[in-house]
Amino acid sequence: MNIYFRGILVINPYNNLNEKLNIWVKDGLIAYIGKEEASIEQETETVLSDDLVCSPGFFDMHVHFREPGYEYKEDIESGANSAANGGFTGVLCMPNTNPPIDNPQVVEFIRNKAKNHLVDIEVSGTLTQGRHGKAISPMFELNEYGVRMFTDDGDCVMSSDVMRRAFEYAGTKDLLISQHCEDHSLTENFSANEGVISGKLGLKGYPHIAEEIIIDRDIKLADYCGNMKYHVSHISTKGAVNIIKEAKKRGQKITCEVTPHHFVLSDEVLTNYDTRHKMNPPLRTQDDIDALIEGLVDGTIDCIATDHAPHSLHEKHVEFDKAPNGIIGLETAVGLSLNYLVKSGNLTLELLVEKMSVNPRKILKLKEINFKVGEIANITIFNPYAKWTVDKSEFKSKSKNTPFHNFELTGKPVYVINNNKIHKCQL
């Protein structure tokens, strides 16, 4: 299908574009971009685009697609459909599958399943073999098979020595190491952020320092090993923002991400013991939310990632302390970001595009998306003004564990275009 957007606001930091243009996508390529009217062919749908924004395709660098091993929660097909419906043209899968992604066979298995899809599915590998935190994984070989980042996400590498060796080894080929920062000795059996709320509700707490101690340690290790590259997953605390800000000032090669749920919700929502508010890291306080938004604004936080973590209803519909951690996020991320960051006046549309497309692609060394005639069209179209009510029954994800059902938002994804495919988002 060919499509022509007339008078659309095109924002592409790669090409320094931020203006109203006409753009024609034909056979998966950009056939025209400019101020003049294009001479389009007949089999082209024309979209009057007054309220729409055209951006390089959004990329979510933190998703759990659960395949292989937990296909009842999500699989690559349903995960990719969910990503497209949420406005993303690319994702990075986390390696805590079963078996975990610590060898080329699993990488190939996933790549094979991911073929012929609108959404580009990139793969991360484990940092240690079997995610056991003991011996580093075969990073060179995995990298040859296209693995772009190494993490034991879901668990933290607790041994400082193993982490040091990982930095040294990955540094040989300038590979990217990432960490789920959690000092497990401080968080055993946690259910919530440690604070006034957890004390009142009788829930075992996860103190914010458990996150910060590891970030602090890893930054020191990365520096010690020769300023190695380091990406911090899903930061959630004010302290984390401050530590990373200081490290960046000193010139360390550190990047980080934040999830929408961590800049939208605080632990105040836990009083109903609804397990859709249970995740790792846990929801923090309003003070942390303010610091995270400030971190997005001042550039401390590079990107927005969802930590899309599907769980089936029967797993989540249990006692709070027994429920698994995690919520889905792909189909609410764009709406939440537009509502709570852009509409609220904190981020410009251009900065949002940086956080959701340009920066994650840079961090993962993915190729630039140029809006020029003849280039592959990798595009997210969104409407920052559309008002809508989140309805989880519209989601393409297999799982429905979202705390945002019935939220009223301003701003939503409208189309995604990639790999010669177009999807109209249905939300």
Partner: protein
């Protein structure tokens, strides 16, 4: 009085009860206390089925509720987790739905996980009474504690009550802090730092430094049970050290005439209390148990007014 209703058709936390609600429960409990005789039954719960769903072990609370419901002519059945399909891996919510399918009007729930009464209430229109959930709340215990003080002192307002021991893990402490404050008492707390919950400074309580200071300040010491697991989890160096610095023995108890002592039971004698003080007249542990039945009769009776048969 008989037409007055509680603020909520359930009881999950001490916060659910206003000052007026508590007075209503007290006067109803007083009525039952005065009018109950062996062989006499009240018909407040006639035609109603009450499920006692205890997913965690309990002696006094379960017996107390069972007796209370039976004295009000309710049909009572008990559910013990160990002999149920939970042991076969059935989930809590499915077990609950199975019980609910048998037409039950009120549930008394005890569970080891915080928040379970609220979780079940979110999935049910029945009346759910919290008989202790994890480390969260145990509101009927705080009702009977306050009632015991009301009976003994004639009022709870302005009493100085110090809660001593494992406040971190105590649902009794959380409910009592709320309810004693609702009733206008002053509440103190005494515990080593490892047994205080994060953020306790935001609670309406006065911290005490030593057991001597606590006794000096208090009209009432509410001693909590120290569970043996606490030593294993590294929160305390030893029983002996806790006993030395926080326990109440005869000498400490006698250091203040008229000091009253409460304990929710079961007591770890030799750890938090000395056995020899248990029979002293100002030690009201058994009175608490006796009052527990009348308080639960009152609560069941008042909540039954929300039942539609």
């Amino acid at each position: 009085m008989s037409d007055q209703l509680l603020s909520h058709p359930y009881l999950h936390t001490a916060d659910d009860l206003s000052y007026e609600d508590i007075q209503l429960v007290f006067s109803k409990a007083q009525y039952f206390l005065e009018n109950y005789k062996p062989g006499v039954k009240f018909d407040d719960l006639k035609g109603m089925t009450i499920a006692l769903a205890f997913f965690e072990n309990s002696t006094r609370t379960r017996l107390s509720f069972e007796l209370a419901a039976k004295r009000l002519s309710g049909e009572v059945f008990s559910f013990a987790a160990a002999q149920s399909s939970l042991a076969k891996g059935e989930s809590l919510i499915d077990t609950f739905r199975t019980i609910e399918a048998m037409t039950v009007h009120m549930y008394v729930i005890r569970h080891g996980s915080s928040g379970v009464p609220r979780f079940l209430q979110n999935n049910s229109n029945s009346i759910i009474i919290n008989a202790g959930d994890g480390k969260h709340e145990h509101p009927t215990q705080s009702l009977l504690d306050a009632f015991t003080l009301q009976k003994y002192f004639g009022k709870v307002k302005d009493l100085k009550v110090c809660i001593v021991g494992d406040i971190l893990h105590s649902r009794v402490a959380r409910s009592n802090v709320t309810m004693l404050n609702t009733l206008g008492a002053e509440v103190g707390v005494l515990a080593p730092g490892t047994l205080l919950p994060f953020g306790w400074q935001t609670w309406k309580v006065k911290p005490m430094a030593t057991i001597e200071e606590a006794i000096e300040w208090s009209d009432v010491i509410l001693m909590l049970r120290l569970q043996r697991e606490r030593m294993e989890s590294g929160l305390l160096p030893s029983n002996r050290e806790f006993s030395n610095y926080y326990g109440v023995d005869l000498k400490r108890f006698n250091s203040k005439p008229n000091l009253v002592l409460l304990h929710p039971g079961p007591v770890n004698f030799g750890v938090e209390l000395d056995y020899e003080i248990s029979a002293l007249p100002n030690v009201l542990i058994e009175t608490q148990v006796t009052h527990g039945v009348f308080i639960r009769m009152a609560l069941l009776s008042l909540l039954s007014k929300f039942v539609k048969i």
